[in-house]
């Protein structure tokens, strides 16, 4: 029996919308955590996750069966996040490194065992959305460059250049806050 994402989505497109349940079970956790990386708001992340599946049904006719479902889904997820943040006026928190002088005493010392992990989370949260999504897709979602390029609708070369800038910024922020 063919249970691939693409086969299921093709069936959804043909009107068997109940098959979306399987895709929901496969991806809702990953999507929820994807949104959590942009906003620590659990309710918002939950709403955005559901909204992605709503849009999948709404735009099912635009799905092309030869395309990877996960790539298409993340294109929708990205647009969902951008629309919602624009609508709710959620913007990048431009809190600068200097304003984080109390960060170490307030947060990191309480989590000594997970200090590096907490620092990375913090560094990620200080990046702007565009650079942050590249790091999330590469490291957390383990997407290959070709897939990220499709989600962002840019060339692979452009993706590599942008990723390099994002990684440089992440390392720089991480180093700065670890010295605080």
């Amino acid at each position: 029996m063919n249970l691939s994402d693409e086969f299921m989505m093709q069936k959804v497109k043909e009107g068997e919308v109940e098959r979306l349940a399987l895709l929901f079970e496969r991806y809702h956790l990953e999507l929820y955590n994807f949104f959590l990386k942009f906003s620590r708001d659990k309710d918002l992340s939950s709403d955005l996750t559901q909204n992605v599946f709503y849009r999948i049904i709404k735009y099912k006719n635009s799905y092309k069966s030869h395309k990877k479902f996960r790539t298409w889904m993340y294109m929708i997820a990205r647009n969902t996040r951008i629309d919602a943040f624009k609508k709710n006026k959620i913007s990048f928190n431009s809190e600068n490194i200097e304003s984080l002088k109390n960060f170490k005493s307030d947060e990191v010392l309480e989590m000594e065992e997970q200090e590096s992990s907490a620092l990375l989370k913090k560094a990620l949260s200080l990046m702007n959305f565009e650079k942050r999504e590249l790091i999330i897709m590469s490291f957390y979602l383990e997407m290959p460059t070709s897939e990220i390029a499709k989600v962002l609708e840019i060339s692979e070369n452009n993706t590599r250049v942008r990723f390099h800038r994002a990684l440089t910024e992440l390392k720089s922020i991480y180093n700065k806050i670890s010295k605080l």
Partner: protein
């Protein structure tokens, strides 16, 4: 190798996407080139840190919301007849998955379809009915969505904004319109969609009364079954009473009785 490519190479290595030969070459590069060791270790550290993070689990409202949405769409999809062109598109899609035998079959079918298209073009009345029906279903969706805009759940609100293009109707107006369609619309699919949509407002007394009335008036078996289902969801006891009342009536046809019997059995009521 410039930085951009090297970073991608490191990630592919860490993800395990390189071939055996590529892994050997890459490890040899790291071992022999001091300038690559630091950037490699930095990326590796970030990679390992991301792997220690545990995924957070959403609360049950996400699953609940999704399945509610899915059941509404499933019903809507089933009440929507497929257009001729949709059927053809699905047919071709299925055939193309079985090349090359499918291609031969396709050629034969094209000839038959050409004749059928002529027939379809001569009877565009059903197509127009379908357009009207789709418009009605879409309008119903908008009406439901307009209420969701006022819902306490942000999820409903976001969903409603996506669905709603122009509707400023108040809750009472939506219910009134839905009841009106449920009781008086000529098209059974619209009546069925209205009945299902009304279950969203099950706390309103007038909704239960309207569905009860619609069960009594409805002539189409499929719609009647859907309405009984909706009634069970709203008020199980009232649904049971109604089923027995109709079942006992002399006017109830044998096929209607069979339908009620089936509902009583499948719903275990």
């Amino acid at each position: 190798m410039n930085n951009d490519f090297f970073e991608q190479q490191v990630l592919e290595y860490l993800k395990g996407n390189l071939s055996l030969q590529e892994v050997t070459d890459f490890e040899s590069l790291i071992a022999n080139d001091n300038s690559k060791q630091q950037p490699f270790n930095e990326i590796k550290t970030i990679w390992e840190l991301t792997k220690t993070e545990k995924l957070e689990t959403p609360d049950d409202s996400l699953r609940e919301g999704f399945y509610n949405m899915l059941s509404m769409h499933t019903l809507e999809e089933k009440s929507k007849p497929k257009t001729f062109f949709q059927s053809v598109s699905i047919f071709f899609n299925n055939i193309l998955q079985h090349k090359p035998a499918g291609q031969l079959a396709m050629l034969t079918v094209v000839v038959l379809i050409s004749g059928y298209i002529g027939f379809q073009l001569n009877s565009n009345a059903s197509g127009q009915n379908e357009i009207v029906l789709n418009q009605e279903v879409e309008k119903l969706n908008q009406e439901v969505a307009s209420l969701q805009l006022k819902s306490a759940s942000a999820s409903d609100r976001i969903q409603a904004v996506n669905n709603l293009n122009s509707s400023n109707l108040k809750e009472e107006s939506i219910i009134k319109n839905l009841i009106n369609k449920l009781l008086y619309d000529d098209n059974m699919h619209v009546r069925m969609a209205a009945g299902k949509s009304l279950t969203l407002f099950k706390n309103h007394l007038q909704v239960k009364t309207a569905i009860l009335k619609a069960v009594q008036l409805e002539k189409e078996l499929l719609v009647k079954a859907t309405l009984i289902d909706a009634l069970i969801e709203i008020d199980r006891e009232a649904a049971l009473e109604e089923i027995y009342r109709i079942y006992e009536s002399e006017n109830t046809s044998p096929e209607m009785k069979a339908l009620y019997k089936e509902i009583v059995e499948t719903k275990s009521i």
